[in-house]
């Protein structure tokens, strides 16, 4: 039995939290209708007459029903189900007795209310367990008092409290009132892993029924009495800004209420990294319906002008940084030339082990390959949108954001309101992938509402969404390997860079496994705004590195899995250098698992296989991808994935997420690209931006998790990066062509 001090995050356990959680939530009808568990199912069993707040995470009804708050943004990673499961397990309540509610942003109660870095579960693992365990303990104490028996003799299971010796028992509902008045214990016992009854079992999406029946769940679905719809016109090109506009025609159009420009941030506003936006001044069109404002926007006559060089100061988790936006209208062809030029020069030295120069001089064979990837748009299926209702002394915001906590200060500052007067509530979100980390659309909605003195729902068109920036950066990397006469890998050199950031992780594998190692990088400034995109940097460098290792194995005459296992063995037994940031044993573990589960090494006629493995977000993923050629076309038949992300809370949901990572990775590697001509993104909708479709997805995906007792690590991002390497390696086996430059579809030769 592990004991945990409740001091960690104790704010959430202070009594009388009704104001902070229940009161706020129940005040908003939309979120009420958002209750994920089926209302009709609950209605069959009577709702309680009274709820008792035990702590900020849960309240218990007098009939034993439990409401668990889900604190984090739900972007499709299924936290609205899996986070409450953790609380419920420690509470010892049956899952069918649980109602899940989305918590609003509340920095007093919760920490890391962010969908980012694959950290939702890992960051809250302890506090969620503590919330449940604390409540369980307080219920036991209440029963002990009522029955005048020692608390240690009380058992709690499945929502029932019992005292064996006296034969007394009671439901949680009977003791909830008394428990809610007790002091929060200084420390509580957490369950043993072997005692988990909900964690580790598959539970269906709590919003499932609402999703399949089309109930309002998403930000774009928000409806409010008197609400106006707003849409924005932003510059058509990066490197341009608003000069002037004429809205006379637009204002005369049916349903249009107003057209005005808004400026997001003052020049001296101290921006955080998530306050980034491409276009600080935009034109807002307000009207009664979405179609009307979209039509009116087309009639705007706007003059844009070129920007000049600028430097934006930003803070990123306390670190100051400067982001430079040079003037000019950029082109993809120039980007490519610049990246090749920079990559040909000496880069910034990031890590050096041994004597790589000497090793390359003495090499029997040298392999050198270059890789690149374009900018990508996140393309969440639900375009950016947000509801805001700003009055003189209050701002209410409701919608899809991955970073409510980081956006709140910017909104308060922009509106001139104290931060406690800004309330942010979360809807379910139609995808995130990193795009909704950058909440300029929240500030825009709030600024528009303030100026219009009306509740406003801001909705981006798809074209606005895709041409607004915050793209995955464009990357380039060159790998060099030295082999000795026995085909041992004696040196590895990676030089990588990008626009505007480098994708290099110098301390990740194969660093630590090679005696002579050199890592360099470089960057190129741009006025095209970029941001985090599912597994930032890893989403390129993993595929490049794992494709390169495949060529090294081929030249060395080794099996690609064995080559990696040999290197990992070296890294485990006798690591080279300092600061290697991975666990070589766990890394090898997923390769061993995927080898077994995919029946690697058994040759099947017509089946072409590629392997890849990567570590990011503290998790390890290995994948084997199988291709057959049908009618001269490569078909992905199967992907076998092995994952070590510690304890898996909700296995089927985790499997779903891993399957999504595979499909997303294949799609982006094969087809994804945003290209630029004179600063204008050449793709602004799905007719030009190709996303993977049904017929292009693998015919089957099998996912296996390493079973261990390690606290959970990331899962939303890790299955995404390595698949691009497995795809490239399998395509080579199938077609004889190596793929170096994404999107692969653009460099594909005719097979056969």
């Amino acid at each position: 039995m592990s004991i945990i001090k409740t001091k960690i995050g104790r704010r959430a356990f202070i009594q009388n939290t009704s104001l902070a959680s229940g009161g706020l939530i129940l005040g908003f009808s939309f979120l009420n209708s958002c209750k994920p568990k089926q209302v009709e199912e609950m209605a069959v069993r009577d709702m309680p007459k009274e709820w008792f707040e035990i702590n900020g995470y849960l309240k218990i009804g007098d009939n034993g029903l439990v409401t668990i708050m889900s604190p984090n943004p739900e972007i499709g990673q299924n936290v609205r189900t899996s986070m409450p499961m953790i609380v419920a397990d420690e509470l010892e309540i049956d899952w069918d007795q649980v109602i899940v509610e989305q918590a609003p942003l509340n920095t007093n109660l919760y920490s890391w209310q962010v969908a980012g870095g694959s950290r939702s579960i890992s960051s809250s693992w302890q506090s969620l367990r503590m919330a449940g365990a604390t409540a369980r303990h307080m219920l036991k104490e209440a029963a002990a008092k009522a029955w005048q028996v020692p608390v240690g003799e009380i058992t709690a299971k499945g929502g029932m409290l019992a005292h064996e010796a006296s034969g007394k028992s009671a439901g949680y509902g009977d003791m909830a009132s008394a428990a809610s008045l007790l002091e929060v214990p200084e420390e509580v016992e957490l369950k043993e892993r072997s005692e988990f009854s909900i964690i580790g079992t598959s539970r269906k999406n709590v919003d499932g029924k609402k999703i399949v029946t089309g109930q309002p769940l998403f930000g774009i679905d928000v409806q409010r009495e008197g609400m106006l719809i707003a849409t924005l016109a932003h510059p058509p090109a990066f490197g341009m800004k608003l000069k002037s506009f004429d809205a006379e025609t637009a204002k005369q159009m049916p349903g249009i209420r107003d057209v005005f420009s808004i400026k997001l941030y003052d020049d001296d506003f101290k921006r955080g990294a998530f306050h980034h936006t491409a276009f600080n001044e935009v034109v807002a069109v307000l009207g009664e319906t979405t179609w009307q404002v979209m039509q009116a926007k087309k009639s705007l006559k706007v003059e844009w002008e070129n920007t000049s060089d600028s430097v934006v100061g930003m803070t990123m988790f306390g670190n100051e940084m400067k982001v430079s936006h040079p003037a000019g209208l950029e082109n993809t062809t120039d980007h490519r030339l610049k990246m090749e030029e920079l990559n040909a020069r000496k880069g910034r030295l990031v890590r050096k082990d041994g004597n790589p120069e000497e090793a390359f001089k003495n090499a029997a064979k040298i392999i050198e390959r270059s890789y690149s990837a374009p900018f990508l748009a996140h393309n969440t299926m639900e375009p950016m949108n947000f509801f805001a209702n700003v009055t003189d002394d209050h701002a209410e915001l409701l919608g899809p954001t991955q970073t409510p906590e980081f956006m709140e200060p910017a909104i308060a500052e922009r509106l001139g309101l104290p931060i406690e007067k800004v309330d942010i509530m979360l809807t379910r979100q139609g995808g995130g992938f990193g795009r909704r980390l950058y909440g300029h659309f929240m500030v825009e909605a709030a600024a528009i509402s303030q100026k219009a003195k009306a509740p406003v729902k801001l909705v981006y068109s798809r074209e606005d969404d895709m041409s607004q920036g915050m793209y995955r950066p464009s990357y380039y990397a060159t790998y060099r390997a030295a082999l000795d006469t026995e085909n041992n890998l004696t040196a590895l050199h990676v030089k990588a860079g990008g626009i505007p950031e480098s994708p290099l992780f110098a301390n990740r594998f194969p660093a630590g496994a090679v005696d002579n190692y050199l890592a360099e990088d470089w960057t190129i400034d741009s006025n095209i705004t970029t941001g985090a995109f599912r597994a930032p940097r890893s989403n390129f460098i993993a595929g490049a590195e794992q494709s390169f290792l495949d060529e090294v194995a081929e030249v060395a005459g080794k099996d690609p899995i064995q080559l990696r296992l040999d290197l990992l063995k070296r890294a485990q037994e006798n690591p080279v250098g300092e600061n290697n940031d991975y666990d070589a044993g766990r890394y090898a573990g997923v390769l061993e698992l995927v080898k077994e589960k995919s029946n690697w090494g058994t040759n099947q006629q017509g089946l072409h296989r590629g392997v890849s493995a990567y570590f990011c977000h503290n998790s390890y993923v290995a994948q084997v991808l199988d291709i057959t050629i049908e009618n001269d076309k490569p078909i992905v038949q199967k992907v076998t994935t092995a994952i070590d992300c510690g304890i898996v809370v909700n296995p089927d949901a985790a499997t779903n997420l891993a399957e999504g990572g595979v499909i997303d990775g294949i799609g982006n590697a094969m087809y994804g690209a945003i290209t630029f001509k004179d600063g204008v993104p050449e793709q602004n909708n799905f007719d030009k931006y190709r996303l993977i479709r049904h017929s292009e997805a693998p015919k089957s995906i099998e996912t296996h998790f390493v079973q261990n007792d390690i606290d959970p690590t990331g899962l939303g991002e890790p299955p995404f990066p390595p698949i691009m390497g497995a795809l490239a390696n399998a395509l080579y086996k199938a077609t004889g062509q190596r793929h170096y430059h994404q999107p692969f579809v653009a460099e594909r030769v005719i097979v056969g």
Binding site: G76, Q77, N78, S202, K204, N205, D207, G208, K209, I211, V212, T213, G214, P216, L217, F218, I220, D221, Q223, P254, E288, T289, T290, W291, Q292, M294, Q295, N379, T380, M381, E382, P383, R428, Q429, G430, G431, G432, F433, V459, S461, R462, A653, N656, E659, G660, G661, V662, I663, D664, G667, N685, F686, D687, I692, R693, H694, S695, A697, P698, S700
Partner: protein, 154 residues
């Protein structure tokens, strides 16, 4: 502006809008039927799929003036209690990740099964190819469509 009487989910409802207004926005903004989703506005993603009669159509490209007497079914009206075989299969397979595209996927799948109760894998892929799922639930969607097909046959 013009008045239209529309048969939506078995009920006749009236609306006064610009005749060019796509059904997508009539449903969402005027009738508050927000299950039909906006994804691209150019019939490329399928998020706005509804049934016009028995056919799956993209409501973002269907002007209200073109509907006339034809019956419209949206995700909200696909079944009385959310128990259409496709909806049940979707829940059983636990298809959704973010969930945004799923109403459109379900409407396309339901129309497919109505005209072809036991589609092959290739027929499923072809019918569903116009519906994008950005989260990548394609393998689960196919599994759910097959499950629904089997349940309809039995």
């Amino acid at each position: 502006m013009a008045a239209f009487a529309l048969n939506i989910n078995g009920k006749t409802q009236e609306v006064n809008v610009d005749p060019n207004t796509p059904m997508l926005w009539v449903l969402r903004d005027h009738f508050k039927l927000v299950g039909t989703k906006y994804g691209c506005g150019i019939a490329q993603c399928g998020a706005c799929t509804i049934h016009l009669g028995d056919s799956a159509v993209r409501s973002c490209q269907l002007p209200v003036s073109a509907v006339a007497e034809q019956k419209i079914t949206t995700i909200e009206g696909l079944s009385e209690n959310g128990d259409h075989p496709v909806q049940k299969a979707w829940l059983e397979v636990d298809v959704p990740q973010c969930g945004y595209c799923q109403a459109g996927q379900i409407m396309t799948a339901a129309a497919l099964l109505k005209r072809n109760p036991s589609p092959s894998d290739t027929e499923i892929e072809t019918a569903m190819n116009g519906n994008i799922c950005r989260c990548g639930t394609y393998t689960r969607i196919k599994k759910a469509v097959k499950m629904a097909a089997d349940s309809e046959l039995s």
